[in-house]
């Protein structure tokens, strides 16, 4: 689960890491009030940032400076009126505009290859780490945190020295790097990224510098949300499609695509394979949908509702290889769903494995079109969709 910058900042602040003195507003007036407080505290300029869960908000006009409270209000109003990549902006973060001396990249993330919490740092902050990796891989330094101990002090130092820090900045960097790993572990985050981690003038020491976490991105492990009800409450259900929400709540893995053939499959690998074969047969999949292992009739019916909510769906392919999942349960779910649905779409059903014979009886009695092999099912679905005007 992705959380907004404002909440990511909150996680960092709770861990005692240096973050801007920012606040969130949902109205222009609210933004003005925050700006007024910041200007009163001596901030020369504020930055107003759209809180949306997509990248590229700066280019979309979602991040703007303001030099007065009045300007903050009008700017906030403009940003709150934006829709960025289909997502309406409902909240803005108002923060002091920082004088950035230099930008650093720092992130702690779950890494498949090293099978641990990988901490990456680069002196080339501000840009995407993928860009840095492509241009100059040597500019990225890495440490795998201790599996139980977190980032050990010497590892934090190695990262800091590795990106050229020394003295006071090195010390601060070590605290921040250690803190990010701690946040990742304690919040069950897959990713805690600070970009930029900015070097800014330290007001208290003339000529001195300090580090501040200017922007942060945090992704939480969905599997662990149960034990963090406080963090789970940060889910931005507003910016979630209602269908996506229903899928999530049903424990169904669903990704909407652009095509015409709705797919219902058990298992992510088989679901991807089904998409591949539909594509190979000349069709276009309307979605990825994995009903998971051991799905019962009601879950199958829910999956059908989710698929049919997409008006672009012209045909449906059901592909079930029974293991934990019982074929007859799926067949019952399909019959139940058909009884409830108001839109009739041609369907081809393939059920093999556990209780496939019982399923076959039910499907035959129900008059469903069936298929034996996966390739055959894909071809039939493509033909049905084409007959209905889809592809």
């Amino acid at each position: 689960m992705k959380i907004h910058e404002a909440e990511a900042r909150e996680l960092l602040a709770r861990a005692g890491l240096p973050v801007p003195d920012a606040d969130v507003a949902t109205t222009a007036a609210g933004a003005r009030a925050i700006a007024e407080r910041l200007f009163a505290a001596g901030v020369p300029q504020v930055v107003i940032k759209a809180q949306v869960l997509v990248g590229g908000r700066g280019k979309a006009g979602g991040v703007k400076l303001a030099a007065s409270a009045a300007e903050a209000e009008t700017t906030a109003a403009a940003i709150l009126a934006l829709t960025i990549k289909d997502l309406p902006v409902r909240r803005v973060l108002v923060a002091p505009a920082a004088t950035i001396v230099r930008e650093i990249y720092l992130a702690a993330l779950i890494d498949r290859t090293t099978r641990g919490v990988l901490v990456m740092a680069s002196a080339a902050g501000g840009m995407e780490i993928e860009e840095v990796a492509a241009k100059d891989p040597a500019a990225i330094v890495r440490e795998v945190a201790h599996p139980h101990g977190g980032l050990l002090p010497f590892q934090a130092r190695r990262l800091g020295f590795g990106i050229g820090l020394r003295g006071e900045l090195l010390k601060q960097f070590c605290l921040i790097a250690t803190g990010l790993v701690k946040i990742a572990r304690e919040s069950d985050a897959d990713l805690v990224e600070v970009n930029p981690l900015a070097v800014v003038p330290a007001p208290e020491t003339p000529g001195g510098e300090r580090l501040i976490c200017l922007d942060a991105k945090v992704t939480l492990d969905d599997s662990a949300l149960d034990r963090h009800p406080d963090l789970a409450a940060w889910r931005d259900a507003d910016s979630e499609d209602p269908i996506d929400r229903e899928a999530r709540e049903q424990g169904i893995s669903y990704i909407r695509l652009d095509g015409s053939i709705g797919c219902m499959v058990n298992g992510a690998g088989l679901a991807m394979t089904t998409l591949d074969l539909v594509t190979r047969a000349g069709g276009t999949p309307a979605n990825f949908l994995d009903i998971g292992g051991g799905a019962r009739a009601d879950k199958v019916a829910a999956a059908m509702r989710i698929i049919l909510a997409d008006a672009g769906v012209k045909a449906i392919l059901v592909n079930i290889f029974g293991g934990i999942t019982r074929g007859d349960e799926v067949a019952k779910g399909l019959i139940e769903a058909r009884a409830q649905q108001d839109r009739v779409v041609p369907m081809v059903v393939r059920i093999v494995g556990t209780n496939a014979a019982e399923a076959a009886v039910l499907l035959r009695e129900g008059g469903f079109e069936t298929a034996t092999s996966l390739d055959e099912a894909a071809e039939k679905a493509v033909a049905l969709a084409a007959a209905g005007g889809g592809k």
Binding site: A107, L109, I110, D111, R112, T113, T114, R115, G116, V117, L118, I129, E130, A133, P137, I140, R142, P147, H148, A184, R185, D188, D190, L191, T219, D221, S223, A224, D226, R227, I255, L257, V265, N266, G267, A268, G269, L270, M272, T273, L275, D276, L277, V278, T279, R280, P285, F288, G293, G294, F321, G322, G323, I324, V352, G353, T354, S373, L374, D375
Partner: protein, 299 residues
Amino acid sequence: MSILVDQHTRLVVQGLTGREGGFHAGQMAAYGTKIVAGVTPGRGGEFGLDGTVPVFDTVREAVEKTNANTSCIFVPAAGAADAIAEAAASGIKTIFCITEGIPVHDMVGALAVVQQHGARLIGPNCPGATTPGVGGLGAKIGIIPASIHLPGDVGVVSRSGTLTYEAVQSMTDAGIGQSTCLGIGGDPIIGTTFRDALELFAADPATRALVLIGEIGGSAEEEAAAWAGEHLKHLPRVAFIAGRAAPEGRRMGHAGAIVSGASGRAVDKIAALEAAGFKVAGSPTELPRLLIEAGYTKR
């Protein structure tokens, strides 16, 4: 011969008294697997599997009393990583974890405990492994349906569940049997990688060809391909990669893979496998034909 599971396997089922654990333990036993113990904290002293298998409170006790050497875990996600660590710390050397949805940070810690004790973990979120046998000598651990198998000499390793079944079924339908079928699981942190599995198969004299079923995301297929290109020249080998048609950028753990120099894309995985001498199928149904084309001959 085979890998990981055979007639010497003495299995303890962690979570035997649960619905899933009980059901699949029955399936495993029916296939010929020796189930010697169950573990459910607080249920020690009971008997599971129709009263035939003693249940213990701890894995240590199960190992002491029954000489269990392998574990299969059906414990709910919140306690599964701890169950893995318990198995490793109790002397179990081969641990299968079927449970899905384990918090990934829990797995980081559990895997470290497994490594510290010199044990091997398969999974989590994996279907397990089957060594098909003739005349009741088969053994399976996990949830792979017994019906799809045929005894033989092709090793199968896969990240997926049902896709594995699909592949194995197509082989069985074509009369091509399997030495061992292994599902390694698709979670970000898993105990046994494709490369680990290939090393095990390479050391098994009964495995005369290999099938690798991968999918998009991460770089495990590329790493396995690089190793296989050097060490598996003698074995016919085929592969299938799911996700050619998948849209990009919808998977977790992406940054890590990218920075490791891998794209996670199907096209790159297929190229890496082909460069390492794998024939790569466009559909699981093509695997039997490609095996023959790669030089595999049925015995």
